[in-house]
Symmetry: C2
Subunit: 231 residues, 2 copies
């Protein structure tokens, strides 16, 4: 059952699209459901489709030859992913997309997007804006990883996630749903270190740590750690 094309306007790249364009795109889309832990695509696969997540949650990651993983980005609803292939000819995905819950996405042929962009400059512009924001975020994260201590990197990851997908509870706390392993992959450290840091913060009353869950009790306290000038 195809979704209402108007929903596609929630996708940043399509925010300025005409109603007709949205219909065209949705007509070219097929729905794909993927279970928790399974994959939309793997790094190195031919980038034949780009995706728009319509329900669930996924992550984009790179895997090293030795099997270690690095989390590049978390994808939530109405975000586009796998779109780099729409740009180059015969591109392959530069990362792997794995569902973090049971998820559904729309898949559209990259070639179709490429075709649309030929005659719709707004699409290129929006896609470039999105790419620009990725570049900036990666540059920033790269700098953090190169220059900042683990504790602060973890604090920043929590804040980034808060902005992107944090759920505010009634008492002003913020709830995040991630495993220690997820957080480790996002902050460039190990699950042991994440666990130790969260335990310490819990002792200080900043957060409450649970299974696959972190409840930020004092957001400003986490901000303080992330920004702290001393060191």
């Amino acid at each position: 059952m195809p979704i209402d094309p108007m929903n596609l306007r929630k996708v940043s790249v399509f925010q300025n699209a005409t109603e007709n364009d949205l219909k065209l795109i949705s007509q070219h889309a097929i729905e794909r459901s993927v279970e928790d832990g399974e994959f939309f695509f793997f790094q190195g696969d031919p980038a034949e489709y780009f995706y728009v997540l319509i329900s669930g949650r996924a992550k984009l990651m790179q895997t090293t030859t030795t099997g270690q993983q690095v989390n590049l980005r978390t994808i939530s609803e109405w975000q586009m992913f796998g779109a780099l292939g729409a740009v180059r000819e015969n591109a392959t995905y530069p990362a792997t997309a794995q569902a973090m819950e049971n998820s559904t996405a729309l898949a559209v042929k990259s070639d179709y997007l490429k075709e649309l962009m030929q005659t719709r400059p707004y699409l290129s512009v929006e896609l470039m804006k999105l790419m620009t924001s990725y570049i900036q975020e990666m540059q920033e994260r790269y700098r953090e990883l190169a220059t900042e201590k683990v504790e602060r990197r973890i604090a920043r990851v929590l804040l980034r996630l808060t902005a992107q997908m944090g759920v505010k509870t009634t008492d002003g706390s913020i709830e995040l749903t991630f495993t220690r392993q997820d957080l480790a992959e996002m902050s460039g450290t190990t699950l042991y270190t994440v666990s130790r840091v969260l335990s310490e913060w819990e002792r200080q009353g900043l957060v409450e740590a649970g299974r696959e869950r972190v409840l930020i009790r004092k957001p400003h306290g986490v901000v303080a750690i992330a920004e702290e000038l001393n060191q």
Copy 2:
């Protein structure tokens, strides 16, 4: 003295431009010379112009609040830089561009590029390709920084630089012109560690290390370190 517009075809984004477009662009360009160590622009400045380096060498870097630096990219002749501002409205540069030698660049108003892109899809396409390659490179470097040991990261930096700007000498060695500090900023470590690693490699006969200079004697040996599967 304005340069020959045809030279602009060496810029990847302009490779498919018409002769007339190249002329238009060069007519809108002003030349700017910057001495060794001085700056084209700073992180946070309004991104009014984009640049094309026509002689010399520069680096793009991010500076932390505590003054530490991270090198994002080295710019050599006919590369475009500072173009992210052409995409967003009222953007600021996300990085600082510093000359590594006496350098000259063409500066063109970002707005002018934006205007051209409205009617020339090939420009958007090429710019997106460039952005895609940045994203991929940053993702890769991020993964390396997160998962790989210093020695291997340094090896990879040398190989990247070899591909980008290495000078082959008559006997098959490759010469690179960088300070230990530069290499440290590029591999996310300190100049001390770079120095120690290079000294060790010199003992093994892989390289010759000189002042602001590294001569790679056995490129395949460096590749072996960069690729080595054992750990």
